[in-house]
Each structure stands twice: as structure tokens, then as C-alpha cells.
């Protein structure tokens, strides 16, 4: 059994990581999942969260928002709409992400007043975003949240 697989993380603007890993923790939309070599082929969408890749050289963590992960027989490919190494995320970056989510939530509430679906989705996105902030040790400035 192969003990490592290929892992690559790409954002629309550039490729952030391409390396051999033993396991990847993916923040899936339906819950976290860990992919190891020989995982059955899966495609899952992402929620905002922390992605952790464990390789022979140690653990690397990235903050990702939106996108999807493709687990195939050759490895794991994560296509994230926004991705940053965890240590590079500044408070400003985080604030702008939260604000964006908050705006989307506000807009969804206005547009779909009596339809719970889209509003709940936006609320979940916002909650995920805030939870991610707590996870990486950042607080939200906005008191309204």
C-alpha cells in the first residue's frame, strides 16, 4: 500500500502547494474529512475552514474559503476560491472575509424574505467563517455579529 499520495492546492491565481503527503484534513461542506492514500474517489465542496496536510516533512496548514476538493486514485486536489498559508492570514484579510460573508447574509435576507434556504446557507457561511477565525486565533471586530 502506498503510504503517501500527491496533494495539490490551487487557487485561481496560483498554485500554492504540490507535495507528497500521508493525510489531508479537508473542511468539507458536510463536515470535516480526512483523506489518506487509497481513499475512495470523492468530490466534496468546501466550507471556510482550515485545511491540514500532513506529510513526511511535517504539518502544513492553510486557510481556505469556498471551492471543492477532488480525491482520486492519484491523490488529492483542492481547488479553493481563496487560499492562504495559515501564518500569512492577517487580521485585515480575515476582517474582509467576514465582512463579505456578512454582506452576503444581509443581502440574502433581503432578497429571499420567506425562503429559508438561501438565508440559512448565507448564515451558515458566516458562522463557518467566524468559527474558522476562532480556530486560528482571530476575533471578529464587528460587534453586530
Amino acid at each position: 500500500m502506498a503510504d503517501t499520495m500527491h496533494f495539490s492546492l490551487v487557487s485561481p491565481e496560483r498554485s500554492l502547494a504540490s507535495m507528497q503527503v500521508t493525510e489531508v484534513l479537508i473542511p468539507g461542506a458536510e463536515g470535516d474529512l480526512t483523506a489518506m492514500p487509497q481513499h475512495s474517489p470523492t468530490i466534496t465542496t468546501l466550507r471556510p475552514g482550515v485545511l491540514r496536510a500532513t506529510g513526511p516533512e511535517g504539518v502544513v496548514e492553510y486557510v481556505v474559503t469556498g471551492g471543492f476538493a477532488e480525491i482520486s486514485t492519484d491523490g488529492v486536489t483542492v481547488l479553493a476560491e481563496r487560499a492562504m498559508a495559515r501564518n500569512d492570514v492577517s487580521q485585515d484579510d480575515f476582517d474582509s472575509m467576514v465582512q463579505e460573508a456578512a454582506e452576503a447574509h444581509g443581502k440574502a435576507r433581503e432578497t429571499f424574505q420567506n425562503q429559508p434556504g438561501p438565508v440559512d446557507d448565507a448564515a451558515k457561511l458566516l458562522a463557518d467563517m467566524v468559527a474558522m477565525g476562532t480556530h486560528i486565533g482571530m476575533s471578529t471586530k464587528q460587534s453586530s455579529l
Binding site: 495539490s8 490551487v10 487557487s11 485561481p12 491565481e13 496560483r14 498554485s15 468539507g28 461542506a29 458536510e30 474529512l33 475512495s40 474517489p41 470523492t42 468530490i43 466534496t44 465542496t45 469556498g66 471551492g67 471543492f68 477532488e70 482520486s72 486514485t73 486536489t77 481547488l79 476560491e81 481563496r82
Partner: protein, 288 residues
């Protein structure tokens, strides 16, 4: 016959023009390299995305639950053309060739009795289209403030398009941009993004989907529009710099030729003046 002084002035002015075009060419070359790198860096994402989408699209195709972004609205009456051009001129036929392509399409659609709406990205295309099709322009995205093209810019355009689609403003959306091949070749291209079209996937691995296939598709289709627009914008940026580089290279060479011609003319007329003076002196001496 221009005087010596006039010729001298012209040579000086053409020389300074050549300096400017030479500088612009070098700036364009540097920018082109960066634009190409950006386009290169974005390629893996777009390729993977497209491959996954193609697989997904194939499996839902034909089912009644296919999202509207994929299946279309069922009508084909109102067309939205997104024409992407540059913010600056002096780049050869770059903008004109994109506009020409879009214009041909507009004419074909109007001839079929369809309704046309045009959304322009970049000032130059809007200026060219406004003359003939001012009535069809429904919006404009200004990119002049954008220093470095980012995914956010593409998202803004995509959001504009999607908002219009959700509001039922159009049925079919096509984007116009220039595909970068190399410095001398850029191909104006049209690509239909709504309803989405995909190249058929070759391999089809059986995937588990989390959440359902439809759920993923609904989530990814809007992102796919943004990705396609982002790719188009990057291609466009590289094409623009490539076109400008070759246009400025031509201009520099033309200026050089012109300077050569003017210099010969200048030298000839100077020689003629000297000869004239000599003749005057000699005939004056002979008369004595």
C-alpha cells in the same frame, strides 16, 4: 521644398517619437512577461475545474433537475454579449479585432430577430461599440483602476452577469476576448458561458459526491462562470501586451526608416545649398 531648418526639426521630432515607442515596447515586453506568468499560474485551476465540471455536467445532462445555468432557460431569445477589451489604446488591432467579432455576431443575431444586450469590460470596446450599438449597451465594467488583475475582478464581472441572469434579463451569455498564442498572434474568441458548455471528459472515474451531485453542481456553476471570465481576462491582458509590443516594434522600425529617409533628404539639400554657393562665388570671380 522644405528648408534645411524644417527638415532638421522633423528629424528631431521623429527621433523623439522613436524614443517613446521604443520605451513603450520595452514596458509592454516586461508587462507581457508578467501577464503570461499570471495566465500560466491560473491554468492548473481552470483545467482541473473544467475537468470536474465536465464530468459532473455529463452525469446530470438530460435530467429534469439540471440547474438553469447548465440547461439554460429553455429560450434563446435574449443574448448577452460580454465584450472584453483593454483600457488603453496603442495596441495595434487588438481591440478592433475583438469588436469586429462581436459586431458580426450582433448583426447575425439582429438579422434573426433576437434581442441583443451588450456588457462591456474595458473602455476601448465600449467606445467602439457605442457608435453603432449604443442602444444595446446595458452596462460597463471599469478596469482602469485595476493595477494587478485578480480573481476578485473576475468575480465582480461574474456577479454582474449572474445577477442579470437571475433577474431573467437574458437567456444566452457569450464572452468575447482575445486568446493569446504568441506575441504576433492573438485570436479573437467567443465562448458561450450560459448555458454552460464543456468539452466532454475522456476518463470518467466514479466519484462519491458530498453533498449530492446536484448540490455540488449548483455550488460550482456560478464559480465556473467566474473562472471562465478570469481566464478570459488573463488571456486578454497577455494578448493586449503582446499586441502592443508588436505594434510598438513596428512603430519603432517605421520611425527608423523615416529618419533614414529624412536624413538623406537633409544631406542632399544641404549639399545643394553648398553647391549653389560655390557656383555663385566662382561665377562672381569669373566676372571680374
Amino acid at each position: 521644398m522644405p528648408s534645411l531648418k524644417d527638415l532638421k526639426n522633423r528629424i528631431v521630432s521623429v527621433k523623439s517619437t522613436r524614443k517613446i515607442t521604443k520605451a513603450m515596447q520595452m514596458v509592454a515586453a516586461a508587462k507581457l512577461r508578467r501577464a503570461q506568468e499570471a495566465a500560466e499560474a491560473a491554468r492548473p485551476y481552470a483545467e482541473r475545474f473544467n475537468a470536474v465540471m465536465a464530468g459532473l455536467a455529463q452525469s446530470v445532462q438530460g435530467s429534469d433537475t439540471a440547474p438553469r445555468l447548465l440547461a439554460g432557460t429553455g429560450a434563446d431569445q435574449v443574448h448577452l454579449l460580454v465584450v472584453m477589451t483593454s483600457e488603453r489604446g496603442l495596441c495595434g488591432g487588438f481591440n478592433s479585432s475583438i469588436v469586429r467579432k462581436a459586431r458580426a455576431r450582433v448583426q447575425a443575431l439582429l438579422a434573426q430577430g433576437k434581442t441583443v444586450k451588450i456588457l462591456t469590460v474595458g473602455k476601448k470596446g465600449r467606445d467602439q461599440l457605442r457608435r453603432d450599438y449604443g442602444a444595446y449597451l446595458v452596462g460597463h465594467v471599469d478596469m482602469s483602476e485595476v493595477k494587478r488583475l485578480g480573481y476578485v475582478n473576475a468575480q465582480a464581472v461574474a456577479k454582474d452577469v449572474l445577477d442579470r441572469f437571475d433577474a431573467g434579463d437574458f437567456d444566452v451569455c457569450t464572452i468575447y476576448f482575445s486568446q493569446f498564442v504568441n506575441v504576433v498572434t492573438q485570436i479573437p474568441t467567443e465562448l458561450q458561458v450560459i448555458p454552460a458548455t464543456f468539452e466532454p471528459a475522456e476518463e470518467s472515474t466514479l466519484y462519491d459526491y458530498e453533498p449530492s451531485e446536484e448540490g455540488i453542481l449548483a455550488d460550482l456553476l456560478p464559480r465556473n462562470i467566474a473562472t471562465q471570465i478570469f481566464t478570459a481576462l488573463l488571456e486578454n491582458a497577455a494578448s493586449e501586451q503582446g499586441a502592443r509590443m508588436s505594434a510598438m516594434d513596428n512603430a519603432t522600425r517605421n520611425a527608423g526608416d523615416m529618419i533614414d529617409r529624412l536624413t538623406i533628404q537633409y544631406n542632399r539639400s544641404r549639399q545643394a545649398v553648398i553647391t549653389n554657393e560655390l557656383i555663385e562665388i566662382i561665377s562672381g570671380a569669373e566676372a571680374l
